[in-house]
């Protein structure tokens, strides 16, 4: 605003916005209000509520009773299943997330060529992602069925070996879940595909002129150029994998011998089966803290390998 404008006029302008601006503000509030109301009721209230409940003994039936940090102390010092579920979950995360990224990227590279029917292929690879998790679990129950399941049958037909009891063996159940996680690889694959198509051709042409091999082009051109997407998929994958629940709930209930007792399954059991909502709330906040810490760590070290085009 021009400093020469009289003060009274400046005040009037700041106090009384135009009719158009007021109308826009009104409609902004009207249109955003469903989201705000939904956020307050279905997100903020439960978040604040669970933070409070995590400091209480609360069985849902009786009023919560304040116990301070007792739930956190109990989980860290006396609840063996808490540590077991953490170990199971983060073993799964450590293997499934990088594998997920690698397979998604490999598929995206394969699908980033121009051949007839490529669009159909891309759609086919993406389709499993939109299947409900429970339906996916039921499907994989049949695939993993010992002896007569598709996977064991294929192993027997192709290599003449008797496949393991995927979901009934404490040694194989986690690899089975990791294998199954690849079912949802279509989501990150589509993002990688979009990123790959955004890499300028000139960079590859320049690299080829310099005599770079296909691997070196991938290593020094493709990967840096799509590194923001790798970071994004890594973080989203980490959050999703650490919250695995529905498939384990349907397929194994955490067994055998707690070998697939994922963190969220333990949390669910505490909340809805064992009537320990306070303990479950504390677990939820601990998981949030762990995932947040891991995310911050990834961000901290991402500066070393993520390339943003606008960087100098």
């Amino acid at each position: 605003m021009d400093p020469a404008t009289p003060l009274s006029l400046r005040r009037a302008r700041s106090v009384r916005p135009s009719r158009q601006a007021r109308r826009e503000a009104f409609w902004f509030h009207v249109l955003i209000s469903p989201w705000i109301i939904g956020f307050l009721i279905f997100m903020l209230y439960p978040i604040v509520g669970s933070a409070y409940f995590s400091f209480t003994r609360y069985d849902v039936i009786h009023p919560p009773h304040w116990v301070g940090l007792a739930n956190y102390a109990y989980l860290f010092t006396r609840d063996q299943l808490f540590w077991k579920s953490l170990r199971v979950t983060f073993t799964y995360v450590a293997v499934a997330v990088p594998l997920h990224l690698a397979v998604a990227l490999a598929l995206a590279l394969l699908l980033n060529v121009r051949i007839i029917g490529m669009r159909a292929l891309r759609t086919i690879y993406y389709l499993p992602t939109i299947m409900p998790q429970v339906a996916t679990a039921m499907l994989w129950l049949f695939l993993f069925a010992p002896t007569y399941g598709v996977i064991d049958w294929a192993l027997s037909a192709a290599f003449g070996i008797h496949g393991p009891d995927w979901l009934g063996s404490a040694h194989w159940v986690l690899p089975a879940f990791i294998l199954m996680s690849l079912w949802g690889v279509g989501g990150p694959m589509v993002l990688f595909l979009a990123a790959l198509q955004g890499v300028p051709n000139e960079l590859y042409e320049a690299a080829q002129l310099d005599g770079a091999s296909a691997w070196r082009q991938f290593r020094h051109v493709t990967v840096p150029m799509i590194s923001p997407l790798i970071l994004f998929n890594l973080i989203v994958g980490l959050i999703a994998a650490s919250q695995i629940f529905a498939t384990a709930f349907v397929m194994t209930q955490g067994g055998p011998d707690y070998a697939s007792y994922f963190y969220n399954l333990a949390l669910y059991n505490n909340a809805f089966v064992y009537f320990k909502m306070g303990l479950a709330s504390a677990q939820a906040w601990i998981l949030l803290a762990i995932v947040m810490m891991l995310t911050l760590l990834i961000f901290k070290f991402s500066a070393r390998w993520v390339f943003y085009g606008s960087e100098r």
């Binding site: 007021r22 503000a25 009104f26 509030h29 009207v30 003994r57 609360y58 069985d59 849902v60 039936i61 009786h62 116990v67 007792a70 739930n71 102390a73 109990y74 006396r78 609840d79 063996q80 049949f142 069925a145 010992p146 002896t147 007569y148 399941g149 393991p164 009891d165 979901l167 009934g168 063996s169 404490a170 709930f249 209930q253 955490g254 067994g255 055998p256 011998d257 707690y258 007792y261 059991n269 505490n270 809805f272 089966v273 064992y274 009537f275 320990k276 909502m277 306070g278 303990l279 479950a280 504390a282």
Partner: protein
Amino acid sequence: MKYRRILAGATAACLLLSGCAAGGANAGGGAGTKRITWLVRSDLGAGSAAWAKQTAAAFARSHPGTHVTIVSAPVAQYNEKFLTMYAAGTPPDVVGTYAMGFGTFYAKHMLADITPQLHALNIHLSKYFHKSVVDTMMRNGKIYGLPFSDPPMVVLYNRTLFQKAGLTYPPTSWTDRSWTIGQMLRDAKRLSHSGSTPAQSVYGLIMGPGQLGYTAWLWGADMFSPSGPTHARPYRTGLPDQPHVDSGQFLAAMTWLADLITKWHVSPTADEATALGVLGNPILSGRVGMEDTLITGLHVFSGAHPSFRWGIAPVPYGPGGDLSPTGVSGWAVAAKSPHPRTAAAFVAYLTVGPAAASYAKIGGYVPSNRVDLSIYLHRLAALPGNGQTYAQDAQVVGGGILASDGYIFPAKVFSGGPHWSSEFVNGTANVWNGKESPRKALTDLQHSLDVLLHQERAAGG
């Protein structure tokens, strides 16, 4: 100011509309209508859902001024639904005890004492139920629910395989002491033979440890008492006590069960059993001689066309007797129900009234109500492949209800039963794979259960 007025007006309109919506929901039965909510399972098939709908409507017709609202949830989410409704201050008035179990609900004071209402309704329970079955839903002389279903454990066997092996069929009388676990094992050995591929093998017997290892009752042992369930305090109080899974009898029972798989090879390993059961009950494969099962398991035959004849027999005698549990489920009134009298009348309608009889006609559940038992037995006799007479079935089913003596699935009796059950299932999982000895598994399990008991007694959360 104008916009504030508009926003205030919009808010008021929203509140008004939501108020109307609530009023609309309540207005279903008109002013002064007593509305009760009934939480039912949604995973029991279309017949069961239709029965629930008809029952609610019929009750409202026969009790003017009442309206029954059905809320449904599958068994896996039944507890979750009950808990969330409870937490929201709107618990269902009438709830089933089949999911979490009576013990936990009672221990959490979630159920109402309906003794006065039942007295007012002038219902003579002895006319309908065995005393031991009603006792499962009583504490300190007060009735907290009425039994609805009472399926006993039986041995389901493949008569065609028995005939081929030249074996005599097991008896149908629970007092026939010639039917022992030794005889069962001998039969299983004769029935079993391994083929060149797993798909050609025949297994003589599938028998598991049961919930919290109740199969050990046949050895006179129980998880909470080395002298068996009749001496275990938790069955009277509903509160878990010092576990004894390392007792000699309990170990003998679990070793015998593990030997079926690893020593005598008459039972499939855990993965083979999973494979056999991939399309439902393993017995449907036609390659299993005998299987211990809750009698409700027989209803896999209702939609099947078995290529063999089958029959049912009592649970055999072990060194400690033939006590086996039933899977009693019942209907109860929630402690916070605003209409306990109407809700109790509905519970009576479901268990001793017309609804019980109509469910026996369509459902796979064995009615606790003795008056309706014959309806169920007629359905059982008509199941495809049943090679027994009505009288033989009646002897096994009726004898099983009496033989259970009011002992129901342990996880349903105890407060926190599902937690103990989960610990037991996971702690013994490697025994049935042959990857761990019963002694080692039970020693470790004893330690885990000691810790669990300690944790439960000083539980946080």
